[in-house]
């Protein structure tokens, strides 16, 4: 399924020939849980500074960490979602360094023995290619607090609300070969996390951020010296950072220089990376097993139990959309990219009553309902599922009309003014011939801006398609009588009846049934 790296690489042209960029991502994902990794303090975002801080988070003398079982479960779920090896025994280590927002003077992390080992993420690229990206490991660790440098002329303030919040660090293998692959991998990883409900994936709030390791080499050469670009906080910036960093490295090497292993920062305003610290200045973290915590151990039975309750993940959902609904792989991949989009589409197609705009917690309910709907479906001989509405039509409308409109306004699907039920009603009106496709688009626009039940709007505003042949015939007769020259031309070249159809539709205010008009004109003109 995955093409070998050498053939997939989008090589970069330099003065001395082609270059290959090699990328690995370390993604920090905040674990969705009510409490922190080792303390009972809340994890809510946006509380007043230092309002979610326990004695443990503030590293008061004599305080001890106690592992939060839910965070462990979330890490296991994520590992399962990444098709990874779950380690039944793992160890927490201390990573020692001084920083004001690190109260203990060390971060509790996992170094030599992480909770999750090697895994695989299948990534679909925009050009239709699919690549398997290796995951090296996933480990649990504490987040640090936040230093505030703009509160006092000579002092910095510290907000410890984030201090101790659980993070999963997901480390990829250096398997990525282009900015597009890096972006696609991160997008896929984010989708998996969001499907699993183990991380909300909100990059603006910092719930998901990536350290990007970039090196360049001539194709077939050994790996080059890498630079690590820290804390990139959007998928787009990951792509930009890779591009600009690869270019920088190629220029240096081609000018006869060499790359220094260092930590860099991406500045999206200037679109450049800047050095943060070199290898010589790098911390010696003095990792050692945290003596306050016993090794983390659980049984395979526990893992199996979590596995049995996992929701359907993007790859499985995509496969199901293709087989059960007959969607194209591309349409299916677009729909499953976000769990909410997939749910919206499925709600429209299956005619479910639950709105996809459910709050957190409601999502699980929806999944359960979707699951039930799927269970109770009648499977047809061709393996397709009996649906309330045409899945391809529903997919087209969701992807083209709804996503197009949402993107234009920069909204996400949770904030869509048109609900799945409303879109479903529009599709029904179109399917039963009440409105034409063109009117449907107008109706969609009205529902988007004004809201309301599409059936009532069609009724109240006289948008129904005219199928009464008598009324149409009168219109058609008038047009034929007034345009003898066009009639001549159309008889000679039958494609030109389109002009008559257009005129008839126009004078009916678009409400005439286009197929009926077409048939009528053909009959009248004898073509």
């Amino acid at each position: 399924m995955s093409a070998p790296a050498s053939t997939r690489s989008k090589l970069i042209k330099g003065m001395t020939g082609d270059w290959e960029v090699v990328i690995g991502l370390e993604v920090h994902a905040q674990v969705s849980s009510r409490a922190k990794l080792f303390s009972g303090a809340a994890t809510e975002f946006g509380g007043a500074p230092n309002s979610h801080v326990s004695l443990v988070d503030a590293a008061m003398p004599g305080m001890l960490p106690v592992i939060n079982k839910e965070c462990v479960a979330q890490a296991i779920r994520t590992g399962l979602g990444l098709n990874a090896k779950i380690n039944l025994k793992s160890v927490f280590d201390r990573k020692n360094y001084f920083y004001p927002d690190l109260p203990q003077g060390y971060q509790i992390s996992q170094y030599k023995e992480p909770i999750v080992g090697e895994g695989i993420v299948d990534v679909d690229l925009p050009d239709g290619e699919s690549v398997a990206i290796g995951v090296e490991r996933l480990h649990l660790e504490q987040d640090a607090g936040k230093s505030l440098h703009d509160q006092h002329p000579s002092m910095s303030y510290v907000d410890l609300n984030r201090s101790g919040v659980a993070l999963m660090e997901i480390v990829s293998k250096p398997d990525l070969r282009s900015s597009a692959e890096a972006m696609a991998y991160l997008a896929k990883l984010r989708a998996i996390l969001r499907y699993l409900g183990t991380c909300d994936g909100d990059m603006e709030k910092g719930s998901l951020r990536a350290d990007v390791n970039v090196s360049v080499r001539k194709p077939g050469a050994p790996l080059g010296t890498r630079c690590e670009i820290k804390n990139v906080n959007s998928i787009r910036f990951v792509g930009q950072a890779v591009e600009v960093e690869a270019r920088r490295q190629i220029e240096i090497i081609e000018d006869g220089g060499k790359i220094d292993q260092e930590t860099r920062l991406y500045d999206p305003n200037k679109n450049e990376t800047r050095s943060m610290r070199s290898k010589e200045e790098a911390h010696d973290y003095r990792y050692f097993p945290d003596p306050d915590l016993l090794p983390l151990e659980f049984t395979q039975g526990y893992v199996d139990e979590l596995k049995s309750k996992l929701p359907e993940l993007p790859d499985d959902k995509q496969a199901r959309f293709i087989t059960a609904f007959g969607l194209s792989p591309y349409d299916a991949s677009v729909l499953v990219a976000e769990r909410e989009s997939a749910e919206f589409f499925e709600t429209v197609t299956l005619g479910l009553t639950t709105s996809p705009k459910t709050k957190s917690g409601g999502q699980a309910e929806l999944v359960a309902k979707v699951g039930m709907a799927v269970d109770s479906k009648v499977t047809r001989a061709d393996g397709r599922e009996d649906t309330k509405r045409d899945p391809k039509l529903a997919a087209n409308w969701v992807i083209n009309e709804l996503f197009g409109r949402l993107n234009k306004e920069g909204r996400d699907i949770a904030a869509s003014p048109v609900s799945a039920a409303q879109l479903g009603a529009i599709l029904d009106l179109m399917a039963d011939g009440t409105i034409s496709g063109k009117i449907a688009k107008d109706l969609f626009e009205i529902v988007w801006t004004e809201g309301g039940d599409p059936r009532d709007i069609v009724e109240a505003r006289g948008m129904k398609q005219v199928t009464d042949l008598g009324a149409i015939e009168k219109v058609v007769d008038e047009i034929i009588a007034q345009n003898p020259d066009k009639v001549e031309q159309a008889r000679a070249k039958p494609q030109l009846i389109g002009w008559f159809v257009g005129q008839a539709m126009k004078s009916s205010g678009g409400k005439a049934n286009p197929q009926a008009v077409n048939d009528l004109i053909k009959r009248k003109l004898g073509v």
Binding site: L55, A58, A59, M60, P61, G62, M63, L64, P65, V66, I67, R94, N96, F98, P100, P103, Q104, G105, Y106, S156, V158, D284, R286, Y287, F288, D290, P291, D292, L293, L294
Partner: protein, 491 residues
């Protein structure tokens, strides 16, 4: 009542229950004794008002025939235990004004059982020391003196304040902590009884950490029975400390007086070290004789990795300490000495806040964990630790119930006498005790005799994991044979 401070804890408890003495009387007598003994520098904070209020509450309970196992018993608390609203310093300048808003689990257990807090006891800074000379509050003076000398002696350390206060009658018992011998060595130096329980028996929550994998709280008291009573109250599972063990805590007092007939006691040949004074050798043999006389069987055993224990300990303990003490950075609480930037503030604060020995151990610990040295030092020390643990397991697997050793290589020494030029001279004090911490086992120090200058000497009994009870039984036999050791009052 002649002198309530001369009572044992068990005697005082029985008199309180019989209403022959009130908690208030008992507490007042101790408050007065503490005030008169300030020359010993055992207490770094006296809390007489709190003590009287607690005693009053105890008397109310006792009057109704209620009250816990320690109702009305005045205790001293090592200043390593955080006490809610009461200054807790670990005897370091870096925490000189620290008042915790929480109570350690061990002290909370004691108050739950009705004990009364007289104040906070001096100790080596962050429990790092074997003589109580590293305290930011100055050294503790032992109530013991050599025959015909008024030279000030150390009470041992790090729980020197606890040992000195118990020996001098400044409390009926005290809390202490033991990372490498900090309960047992001062107990041996002062003629008191000290129990270091199995790792995991007492919660570490709320106790200022020195070396997390070695630290254990335990009691120091004047008799084995008193120590057993305190031990039972202090111990117990605590969900806030994941290294604490969820096992029932036995009635240790009930272990006293049980027959030791047929018990096999190991005598490890590796504890017969070069240059050991003849009187220690004699004491050890005497201890074995007493146990034999009571029906136990002495068995020569071998703990072959003993000689590596001290160097390994002085890698593992500083390594953990260097990390545990990183939180004292001047940012959130405790001392802060300003600087031009954050690094300078850290440097200024930690240089001014930590004493010499603490700084030395932080530097050793940082070194042994550093890239390139980790494998050679820390990792190797951990391997040694595993071997030491296995030595004990193999001995106990042969049916040995406990191991008898000297508690210390010598009697108490003078203040300023040791470790001035070479810290290792001081570290050697722990040679018989560190193995027990490395293996996580229980150990008890019981006074067993005196040296030629009239100073007390102690024997150590090492038990199987979670078998503190046998140590109390055996300790009781030695105590009965050896008699009590009380310093002549000079202060």
């Amino acid at each position: 009542m002649s002198d309530p401070t001369a009572l044992t804890l068990a005697e005082a408890r029985d008199l309180l229950r019989a209403k022959k003495i009130s908690a208030a009387e008992l507490t007042d007598a101790h408050i007065a004794a503490v005030a008169q003994a300030r020359v010993l520098n055992a207490y770094v904070l006296e809390t007489p008002d709190k003590a009287r209020a607690m005693a009053k509450a105890s008397d109310a309970k006792l009057a109704k025939g209620e009250g816990g196992a320690l109702e009305g018993i005045p205790l001293g608390i090592k200043d390593l235990f955080c006490t809610d609203g009461v200054r807790t310093t670990a005897c370091s300048k870096i925490l000189e004004n620290f008042i915790p808003p929480y109570e350690s689990t061990v002290t909370a257990n004691l108050w739950r059982d009705g004990a009364v807090m007289l104040g906070k006891l001096n100790c080596d800074e962050f429990a790092m020391g074997s003589s109580n000379e590293t305290s930011a509050f100055g050294p503790v003076v032992s109530p013991w003196r050599r025959k015909g000398s008024d030279a000030k002696l150390v009470p041992g350390g790090s729980s020197g304040g606890s040992a000195s206060a118990v020996a001098a009658g400044l409390c009926l018992g005290a809390t202490a902590t033991d990372t490498g011998g900090s309960i047992r060595q001062p107990a041996a130096f002062t003629g008191t009884v000290g129990m270091k329980p199995t790792y995991g028996r007492c919660s570490r929550w709320g106790t200022v950490a020195f070396a997390s994998s070695l630290d254990q709280a335990g009691p120091i008291a004047r008799t084995v029975r008193d120590t057993a009573i305190l031990m039972r109250a202090m111990a117990g599972h605590d969900p806030k400390d994941t290294t604490s063990v969820d096992m029932p805590v036995p009635d240790y007092e009930a272990a006293l007086g049980k027959s030791i007939k047929g018990m096999k006691i190991g005598i490890p040949k590796e504890y017969r070290i070069d240059g050991m004074p003849a009187e220690i050798e004699k004491l050890w043999a005497q201890g074995a004789e007493w146990l034999k006389a009571a029906g136990a069987e002495m068995v020569d055993v071998s703990l072959p990795h003993t000689k590596y224990a001290l160097p390994a300990y002085y890698i593992v303990a500083p390594a953990e300490a260097s990390s545990n003490l990183a939180r004292y950075d001047g940012v959130r609480y405790g001392l802060r000495v300003p600087g031009h930037d954050i690094s300078e503030m850290y440097e200024n604060t930690r240089a001014a806040g930590f004493g010499k020995e603490v700084r030395r151990r932080i530097m050793i610990g940082t070194y042994v964990l550093s890239a390139g040295y980790y494998d050679a030092y820390y990792l190797r020390a951990q391997k040694v630790r595993t071997l030491i643990k296995r030595d004990f397991e193999e001995v106990f697997a042969t049916g040995i119930s406990a191991i008898l050793t000297p508690a210390t290589p010598s009697a108490a020494f003078g203040i300023g006498e040791k470790g001035g030029a070479d810290p290792v001279e001081m570290y050697l004090n722990d040679v018989f005790t560190v193995t027990v911490n490395m293996a996580g086992l229980p150990g008890i120090a019981v006074p067993a005799g005196s040296d030629g200058q009239g100073l007390p000497l102690g024997l150590q009994l090492i038990g199987k994991a979670f078998d503190e009870a046998s140590l109390f039984t055996l300790g009781g036999v030695i105590e009965d044979a050896a008699g009590k050791f009380t310093p002549a009052r000079w202060w």
